[in-house]
Symmetry: C2
Subunit: 489 residues, 2 copies
Amino acid sequence: MNAYDDLIAFQRETEALAQIQGRLGWDQETMMPRGAAAQRGEEMAALEGVLHARRTDPRLGEWLAAAEASDDVAVAQLREIRRSYDRNVKVPARLAAEIARVTSLAQGIWAEARANEAVADFLPILGEVLALRREEGAALAEGGDPYDALLQDYEPETTGEDIAALFDRMRPRLVALRERVLGASRHPAPLSGHYPEATQMRLSREIARVFGYDFTRGRLDLAVHPFSSGSGNDVRITTRVNEHDPFNCFYSTIHEVGHACYELGVDPDFLLTPLGRGVSMGVHESQSRIYENQLGRSRAFTGWLLARMQQAFDMPDIDADSFYATVNRVQPGFIRTEADEVQYNLHIMLRFDLERALIAGDLSPDDLEAAWNDQFKADFGVEVTKPSDGVLQDVHWSIGLFGYFPTYTLGNVYAGCLHQALRDEVPDLDAALAEGHTAPATEWLRENVQRHGARLPPREVIAQACGFEPTEEPLLDYLEHKFGTLYRL
Amino acid sequence: MNAYDDLIAFQRETEALAQIQGRLGWDQETMMPRGAAAQRGEEMAALEGVLHARRTDPRLGEWLAAAEASDDVAVAQLREIRRSYDRNVKVPARLAAEIARVTSLAQGIWAEARANEAVADFLPILGEVLALRREEGAALAEGGDPYDALLQDYEPETTGEDIAALFDRMRPRLVALRERVLGASRHPAPLSGHYPEATQMRLSREIARVFGYDFTRGRLDLAVHPFSSGSGNDVRITTRVNEHDPFNCFYSTIHEVGHACYELGVDPDFLLTPLGRGVSMGVHESQSRIYENQLGRSRAFTGWLLARMQQAFDMPDIDADSFYATVNRVQPGFIRTEADEVQYNLHIMLRFDLERALIAGDLSPDDLEAAWNDQFKADFGVEVTKPSDGVLQDVHWSIGLFGYFPTYTLGNVYAGCLHQALRDEVPDLDAALAEGHTAPATEWLRENVQRHGARLPPREVIAQACGFEPTEEPLLDYLEHKFGTLYRL
């Protein structure tokens, strides 16, 4: 065996152990009895110790120095392994362990503070998490921008500057669209009726199948916060059920199916290697979003969905156009995870500005709530009256995820680009969607995005799929057209 | 930290990783999508590699040499760690890997051979498995008896000679009892009726609770072959459902609850240490069997069960005495896992004799089927007419489990002893069982057996609980009395 083969063999074992870690995470959210939590913490810590040792194993450095790539795939494998190794050896073991310890603690404190509407209870530990991540960012950046360094974990080859410029271009058009939609003279009604859990889950499974989810390599369960978990041939999804709002269940399912199909669609040759998974959070979110929004919330697909719901449920009379408007209803609201397509990105931009200032040291945790509320007033025109509607609503910062939020909007931007290219290449897509056939879209996405896994860098995989460099224009055009028509603006 | 503390800290991480391995096994049998099997194989191999490296880590030898025990518990911890380390370093890594590879292959070949009734298809790989395990036994025995060495993995401090003598004493009385019961003039009818799966599972959960199973630290799911999995605070059980035979589900549940309560009942101070689990397969089986048989199939408890079943199901009229007789029906049969209390141990003895001869080299795999069928004729009086009813019925040998079978009967013998002691100490137990209260029995077992985990050697924990050295007499007396009465012999 040469150095390259040794390296890949070692890496396959590491990836296999990382898959196990992911499966335990899935178990924790879906199956684990609650009394097992403390023991699970020890189990996860033991596995994390094994993984950390492997990811910083000095042999990796030796193999990387000696390995030669014989083709493009090998070049990409070495690029990904080197990125991960360089990153991990820059962070002292002491700091990595401290981050793990403090974020695990902080998540519980955050949950309690949110339940009690007590920002002050959360600020001390948030300060600790922030200090640790700033230290980590500085270690990773080696003199460069710490926020840019943190971003690389979620969206390689992107900078805070790039994102700030993108968001500056997007914000005015989104604020304007939002104001016009909310000021429209007619608004769709919410869906009424009662939708039993078992039927929602049955229909969710059908919808997952319709979007190409392979149940022989996955499964669908309930979780408090829906997620997708795993790579390769074991990619599981979860959804949630509200018996008065079936869209919550169905669109959570479609969203997670998008994530899962990305993982399931990667070239099987890359299984259990660094290329065998989605390349970035942004590209991942592009798949979940295009499945959920551009496809799932289209007029064509909602027509099929209404027909299936009418067969499955005892539901009020509603015509297909009204149902489409109801699915896409835009309403004022404080909560990111409940936001519609028009407002979602404004929630992200607010968080991006704040977290970038926190990492730069330009904003102190003590001033965070006021800064949040000011910006929310500016973007959304309303006052935040309780922290659970504002600065305490998301778990991310408590677990140290600084640099993660902007990938949601990057995903929407990429989805906009992919959707434009897809419509150009599959002009009769709506006819298929109206019949519940998503294959023309999902197969195009598998062929052009998903199968590449992490072989191509994020912007490159999107650019290659679309035939143009990704920009915000297609997304904004799509939103203005869709909601302009829906709200007769 | 001194050597003892270092050793225990290292061991805790190893035990935590072993718990993860167990959880993946559970997942594989209950939740895993079938298309994930090959990938899971790689994941399990990677984790096994980590565990094997830890279990043979040279630091263990150094710590063991330097460690000093400050109390009885520490003495027991060192005994268990030393046993495991000495065992693992005696087996060359090459041999351990080959056993893992061949047994994984052999299990599939066995399943196919059984489905096709084709013994000859299984013999070559059985020969390979046997040769590897004989080699392992010889390496472990260091000049001693290889079968005795293999036994230690399942039942420490027991020998083939001990078991042979025990079985020689038991066989004549069991053969005689079997003949008298089957020759009785009146036989109970089987249960008729249809018992829907969902109701069986609901009642199974209630029965599990009645036997003290803690659902905050476990869960109950379906599996093809019922099992219990895990130690400490995450001990999960499975059962199976046949809609025409609810006893299959209920008694599988009670059996697995017995195993699970043993693990859940261990002193929490031993969590994630070598003492934090059941001490042997025999003692484990004593718990599952006493829950299932001496308690669960008692006249008192079946009276309560009948009343609950009559509430839950639309079932035929049956009085409590007839129901008790039906639960304990003795019928001729070929299959160990379907055997009643009277015949079960005869199935085990046959396997013990054959596997001991195989390991000793006194029996060749080519002659195994004939030897099986001859002994079956001698013990059960009938001819085996197809291999799935005979030598191909059990998975054990295909996966290299030589030395495991006798622990089933040891478990029954221990259960017999524990039951005699329990009845002496809790004379009004039947009154409680008749009300569905098992606590007087299950708490006695937790106090006297379960909480010790692996602190005391197998025979010692039973002897200490009972106040006498374990023998076969209480089990045989119990069987002769119970079935003598039931069948009016």
